[in-house]
């Protein structure tokens, strides 16, 4: 995202705070390219500087995200023709999402809210389209979005006096958690393989 657009978003934030943040998280859950992570960090910073209310900003970010996910789920339910076709990069992400969803539904929904968030919008569509239970989806979604919002607004409150610092922290922390989760998963797989009876 070009710097001017990001700065324009940021300048509107202290003025239209909760509405703008809610709209941003809503749109980001529909795979639209809005700087939602940065906006949440900046909101946290404005909460810490006394410009905006913490409860209101957390509420609007959370509300927007959950509403966006429900919209995506609903779209998936209603119309399979909205799904990107198999050949496109988005189609590939979608197929990956369907595959993951069938294997471990709630975990996929939960982790795709915050840890693997680029997958989130596609998991919503896939969950809706493949007939995943709305109740199970919503529960995992609420927990996941709460994690996402708490993480970024919390980072903003703590480190937001410098957005570069906060963004770098967020990126590296999520990178560490993601790589760590994958490494632990593979370690578990290898441990089981090492204790299985020999193949030859």
């Amino acid at each position: 995202m070009p710097e001017q657009i990001t700065d324009a978003f940021l300048a509107l934030l202290p003025v239209y705070g909760p509405w703008l943040l809610g709209l941003t998280t809503y749109l980001s859950c529909l795979a639209l390219p809005v700087p939602s992570s940065l906006m949440m960090i900046a909101s946290g910073a404005f909460v810490a500087s006394g410009d905006l209310s913490g409860a209101v900003m957390i509420g609007s970010a959370f509300g927007g995200a959950v509403l966006g996910d429900q919209t995506g789920f609903h779209l998936g339910r209603r119309a399979t023709r909205f799904l990107p076709d198999d050949g496109s990069p988005k189609g590939k992400l979608l197929r990956e999402a369907i595959h993951k969803l069938q294997a471990k539904g709630w975990m996929t929904v939960y982790l795709s809210r915050w840890l693997f968030s680029p997958l989130g919008p596609y998991v919503n569509l896939a969950a809706g389209a493949t007939g995943y239970s709305r109740r199970a989806f919503s529960l995992a979604d609420l927990a996941g979005e709460a994690t996402w919002v708490a993480l970024y607004i919390g980072l903003g409150i703590t480190f937001g006096a410098n957005l570069t610092a906060a963004s770098e922290f967020a990126a590296n922390m999520l990178g560490l958690i993601a790589a760590g989760v994958i490494a632990l998963g593979l370690l578990w797989w290898l441990w089981r393989a090492a204790h299985a009876p020999t193949q030859d």
């Binding site: 940021l10 300048a11 910073a45 404005f46 410009d51 922290f169 590296n172 490494a183 593979l186 290898l190």
Partner: protein, 115 residues
């Protein structure tokens, strides 16, 4: 070692993937540590003023009180208004206001820290 040899034979892809993920995790951990050390110095956290920032935001970043900024901003006790709007209120270009802030902030911080 025997276990490793067996895994290399039977689970090569998983073993290599694990190695890569572990190296990546280590990389992020080291970077996080470096960032923590760098950003824990208050002087590194002072941001260059930008049009989207509010008086409160700048004051927090530079460890000064909000009221200290009033003489430079030319307005008193302004609320959640970005610098570009403050500049418009006082009838000067935002670039000029930012230059004035850049000049004034380091002295204010030094004063606050008791130097």
């Amino acid at each position: 070692m025997k276990v490793l040899a067996r895994l290399w034979r039977e689970q090569r892809v998983a073993l290599v993937a694990f190695g890569l993920a572990a190296v990546l995790a280590l990389f992020f951990a080291v970077k996080l540590l470096v960032l923590t050390i760098y950003w824990s110095d208050p002087a590194h956290r002072q941001v260059d003023p930008a049009p989207w920032m509010t008086a409160g935001y700048l004051a927090r970043s530079w460890h000064v009180s909000r009221e200290d900024l009033d003489p430079v901003l030319g307005v008193e006790r302004v609320g959640r208004v970005p610098l570009k709007d403050i500049a418009a209120m006082t009838g000067k270009p935002v670039e000029q206001l930012i230059d004035e802030l850049r000049a004034a902030l380091p002295a204010m911080t030094a004063h606050h820290m008791g130097n």
